[in-house]
Symmetry: C2
Subunit: 362 residues, 2 copies
């Protein structure tokens, strides 16, 4: 039944641990002998309550979340957070500094301008998003409430190798590298990430926020858009996305039981290293546009000598059941997304295919 499993390099939604999928399948129709699916149960009942509480607890444990942080589950992915973060944090005349590292920080910037003053504190566009900035390159003005960083740009394939300490609280969109690295929590007021890459199915974001900021958030908006309500109600103000919470809990348990974030980082470095080695050892046949120090561990982008070759590469890769290697439509080229559930075998097989393809193409 599962022996036809492909290597899925999709940028998100993306590959999940097979054991998690099989567990969900086996529990889907009749949950724990209850005569119901978990999908059918009241979110105020004992079964769902246990699932909800466990997912929360696992999130705290896996992320080593300090006591003074809350974690909430909010629907709408990172995209809704692009609105909620400034709508909640930008009180009065405060402004947000956005570090512009690629497409996703651009989206965060665009939405922030609807809620207050937003400015670019470092602009990666002139260097074609080839690297993340050092801390001392980020120019923060007086009155800045927070500095928004996208920890990993899924489309351009770069990341902050280290989070910058600039004396103003950071807010990080970690959608594409959440749960792949440990975090220096002392630098952050808020961290968010969609679940659909490293943590589960689409349909939810994990939002971590420093408890003490709750007292200074803006309240002049509807209930769902106020962080305080989600915190007060333990993410049960309204019906939560039951399936997402359930499956994300299973993935978090899988992460914990696989060695936690340290093990995820080591696996990510090894997987990405395997593919970057195939790129860097190709005498320029494959090119990664990102400087080595800023290269993403989860989204390896690369180009071939010309677009016809790229098309042939992608076509032959598809024939070998390598799925999702096409680069984002806005930048073209190729991209291998290597999230937590991608086995090292997938990276090995891709690297071997890249070497073979290069030999044949010469």
């Amino acid at each position: 039944m599962t022996n036809n499993r492909v290597f899925n390099f999709s940028a998100g939604p993306s590959t999940l641990p097979l054991s998690v999928l099989e567990e969900v399948r086996d529990q889907l129709v009749d949950y724990d002998g209850s005569g119901m699916s978990l999908l059918e149960m009241s979110h105020r009942g004992a079964h769902y309550d246990a699932v909800h509480t466990e997912t929360m607890a696992l999130a705290r444990e896996v992320f080593a979340l300090p006591e003074d942080f809350d974690v909430v589950f909010i629907q709408g992915g990172a995209t809704l957070q692009f609105s909620m973060v400034p709508a909640n944090l930008l009180a009065g005349a405060a402004s947000v500094a956005v570090v512009r590292t690629g497409s996703w920080s651009d989206k965060a910037l665009a939405d922030a301008t609807e809620y207050g003053s937003a400015y670019v504190a470092w602009d990666g566009k002139p260097v074609r998003y080839a690297r993340a900035p050092a801390a001392d390159e980020i120019e923060v003005r007086d009155g800045t409430r927070y500095v928004h960083v996208c920890s990993n740009e899924t489309i351009e394939g770069l990341r902050f190798p280290e989070f910058p300490d600039i004396g103003v609280p950071l807010v990080a969109d970690m959608s594409s590298d959440i749960a792949t690295r440990e975090l220096p929590w002392e630098l952050f007021d808020l961290v968010y990430g969609g679940t659909q890459k490293n943590l589960g199915p689409a349909g939810m974001a994990l939002v971590f926020l420093r408890h003490r900021i709750l007292t200074s958030l803006r309240q002049d908006q509807g209930a769902y858009l106020r962080y305080g309500i989600h915190v007060d109600k333990d993410s049960l103000y309204n019906t939560p996305p039951v399936f997402s919470v359930w499956v994300t809990g299973k993935v978090l348990r899988w992460i914990r039981d696989s060695g936690g974030l340290k093990a995820m980082t080591a696996a990510a470095e090894r997987r990405a290293g395997t593919v970057y080695e195939a790129i860097d050892g190709s005498d320029g046949f494959y090119r990664c546009p990102v400087e080595p120090s800023s290269r993403s561990l989860t989204n390896v982008v690369f180009r071939l000598p010309h677009e016809d070759l790229e098309a042939r590469f992608l076509s032959e890769a598809a024939d070998r059941d390598f799925v999702g290697l096409k680069g984002h439509r806005s930048v073209g080229g190729c991209r291998a997304s290597l999230y937590n559930a991608m086995p090292q075998d997938g990276a090995d097989a891709l690297a071997q295919f890249m070497r073979d393809f290069r030999s044949r193409a010469r």
Copy 2:
């Protein structure tokens, strides 16, 4: 495997068609021989695109949606719509008239006040939410952009038997009776409902909106909160809630193949009628606080002579695997939620149990 299925009267999430759950289970790990779960696939790929397109088409077909309406899938359930509707529709000095029929219209009212002027156009509180108003009782002021109605109040157990025609466009929250009744679309500018009662798992709302209102919506907010973006991008601006769209599509197909909304209405009337008969034929042992003409077809609320008897009723019901009969914590008593997937057998068994309990309790 499925012979222990209980009768699930939960108010939402709630019972789903068993055939849908079994299909999801069977397709969960390896979708259509692809070597991946649908949960793992790119939302821009062919497999998901087919699912998305089919769910959209089924929604149009089942709801007999006129050509000049759009349908979009938005995360956050009806609760996010409590913010989005006024945030989009209340441009300039326009106000919203809210018909106050119970707890959910109260929530819609509270959120609307954050985005503009909102007033109560008919107040059901003085009559203890025992009925919905007639059209000529709803007092609409000049400058009213829309009249908000909650078509069915899940907690108080009442509904609009007919939607009022008052010469101002209606907006309806249909979370608890969506897909149980046909709609006079000419009265509405917008209709929304969470999926987790009659249409699928939690995690999404269906929003139907009249196309021509798009040009007059407010734009001064983040992308996810603008209806126009969801319409323009066909609900694929960002990663959609794949599982919700998939399962909701299956339920919509089940509705269509079961005879569509006409058949759903007939089944709802018969199910609810069975339980109301047990109430009305009990010589006052069971009491429904709602006037017959406004009684909900999906949420039958009733009281027993005193709270001790209610506790005993609920306890014995639970022993017989009748799940979820406790009334909402804010009002107490009992409630049988009878959504589309509840078989008539469930209503029959409950009515029989109610008669038996009454005989024993006398």
